[in-house]
Symmetry: C2
């Protein structure tokens, strides 16, 4: 019974998403929009196969996929017309579009390759079809950036799972273990506790390695006192979480106690002061100004955070050059860091949701170092 | 000492790869080629970071990456000039290309997005730079399709690891276990035995699920007699393996014993008769004709196989429409299958290398059902 209610709810939410998308399509005076970016496709249709295309117009909601996924598509995407396709996009799209009488078709310009676009143009010309291909970017990504209650539910579960896995792994970690070994222990816990794979490759970076913001776990043995940076995430019903903590296993070596306190303060301030209606670049400044004042501005080489949802990095982007506008319903990370090349780094990352204008922190993992 | 010899060997092999690439660049009358497809980038430079660009001309071998990966690039790509970049491709490329005096720049047309290409064109126009962007496809992929001895060494290790993991998992598998549970057991074995992650999501598909060529493991409990299809691969130094077996856990239900024998015969024949110099479509026919003669032609809905290397699917593509030409040094799968919708499927997959004109089978996993 529960399952049915949830399914009905999800179906309603899909209807709402399509309605919002159709408004965007109308505003751009498009006859239809072609969507293939996997998370966009899943968001709108529920389809999780690795190969498929959506065609959305005012009237139509078509999911085109090959024989491998037709049965799956029928199950996952009720309400969509499933069209079985063969060969490549340019082989089947022009005919279909022509049959439907569309003349202005939007496409995802940062997802379709130059070659794909070019072949599509050639095929339309050869078949003498009157079709204008209109490049678009970020239409569905924009819709995805504010989360509906059921999405927030999945994200919250993914956050809780990462928190619990971190707390379960923490007592196991001791000096002499290798970074890779710790990463694998964390992954096993995450997956055995019900995560769908992992949201991204787990980072376990110790000592000087922690100064590389995108370090991969190595065979290096961890030592007490030096920074041990862990960055991990779970996935539930497709939705991700993202959690970073920096540990020291004992008393922090100088200057890391001081560094830790600066990052901690920068993060707490950003969480406290970030607001709906704020520019994402302004949110970044909240933490950055504290780190700059402490003399470490050059050592905070990435943005303050990023949206999290079906993708682990999505809108909004909180950084210096970002023009995104923060709004209620957005879920994102707040993760300032300071990285001393050759010595080590500290990053503290929580996930928050904007509600009633302010940030509510989703992450509960402890910040004891 | 060994490590140094290996490193020297890898460096020589990189030099050879660049030499072959420069011949291709010269034939196309390009001043340079821009490469960003991750496996192509790794193949040529050894760089494994998630963000970087290669620019290869007759004289230059440049690896451009951002601050996160500069140190890693220096370590992984000796012999390359490391350029630290900021922002997006169109922000830095035109200036660099202009400084180097290049006018005809090839790019990977099936990897650069329409948007990326368009922005690059705009930026060159604004900066009044005389630059022609020339779309190319498959240049590096073509080089990658024939393997050098050290590559075959890594692939062989990845094959051995998958074989060993399969044999280790087999006695654990019993009726009543769930597909997901078996997939996770196999993954744990692979990774604990030294695989770098897994080559792709492991397929464990039982009963009717085995009729879906790209099934994902479900909560379904497996039963004796029905087909249990397992498709898995390991990864060593970036190189993949790919192995499929179909088990029955006891006596096979009808009609699967018969189906299994047809697939087995089709595979054995293809392995025996495939030759260097053959069209990849002709190789596909070797197995397909046997399956057709047995009345199951419509139920073999994919190609005979695919190249395996840094990517789990790469050149050559063995299928009906393929125009690839098989040659010594190519490593690929031979994996015919028959899928009865709603009932179940059988696939048997080995990896082979073409040597002295004939296929040598790399896979050793048993074919007892």
């Amino acid at each position: 019974m529960t399952a049915k209610i949830v399914e009905g709810g999800q179906r309603n939410s899909k209807t709402k998403r399509l309605r919002r998308l159709r408004t965007s399509i109308g505003e751009r005076e498009l006859d239809a929009l072609l969507i293939s970016q996997p998370e966009n496709l899943r968001y709108l249709s529920g389809f999780t196969g690795s190969s498929g295309w959506l065609l959305i117009s005012g009237q139509n909601a078509i999911l085109a996929t090959d024989f491998r996924y037709v049965e799956q598509a029928k199950g996952e995407s009720p309400g969509f017309e499933i069209v079985q396709i063969k060969q490549e996009l340019h082989d089947w799209l022009p005919g279909l579009v022509s049959d439907l009488g569309w003349h202005r078709l939007g496409f995802e310009a940062n997802f379709i390759s130059y070659d794909g676009y070019h072949k599509l143009g050639e095929a339309t010309k050869i078949k003498q079809i009157n079709l204008q291909l209109v490049p678009t970017t970020g239409i569905v990504e924009q819709l995805r950036s504010t989360k509906a209650p059921e999405e927030l539910g999945f994200i919250t579960k993914a956050v809780e799972l990462a928190d619990a896995a971190f707390e379960e792994a923490k007592p196991i970690i001791r000096p002499g273990m290798r970074e890779k070994e710790i990463a694998w222990e964390i992954e096993k816990i995450l997956r055995q506790e019900g995560s769908e794979g992992i949201a991204f490759e787990i980072i376990v970076a110790s000592g000087p390695n922690s100064a590389l913001p995108h370090a991969r776990p190595t065979e290096r043995m961890i030592r007490s006192g030096e920074p041990l940076l862990i960055d991990m995430g779970a996935r539930i019903s497709g939705y991700c979480s993202d959690l970073s903590r920096t540990l020291f296993l004992g008393k922090a070596d100088r200057p890391f106690r001081e560094i830790y306190d600066i990052v901690f303060k920068a993060q707490a301030t950003a969480i406290e002061e970030v607001e709906s209606g704020m520019d994402a670049s302004q949110a970044d400044r909240l933490a950055r100004s504290i780190i700059e004042q402490a003399g470490h501005g050059d050592e905070f080489g990435h943005g303050l955070g990023h949206g999290v949802g079906l993708a682990v990095h999505e809108f909004p982007r909180l950084g210096l050059g970002s023009s995104d506008l923060l709004a209620d319903g957005m879920v994102f990370t707040i993760e300032p860091g300071i990285y001393l090349v050759g010595q080590g780094g500290v990053r503290i990352e929580d996930m928050v949701v904007l509600e009633n204008g302010k940030a509510r922190v989703l992450t509960r993992a402890s910040k004891d170092t």
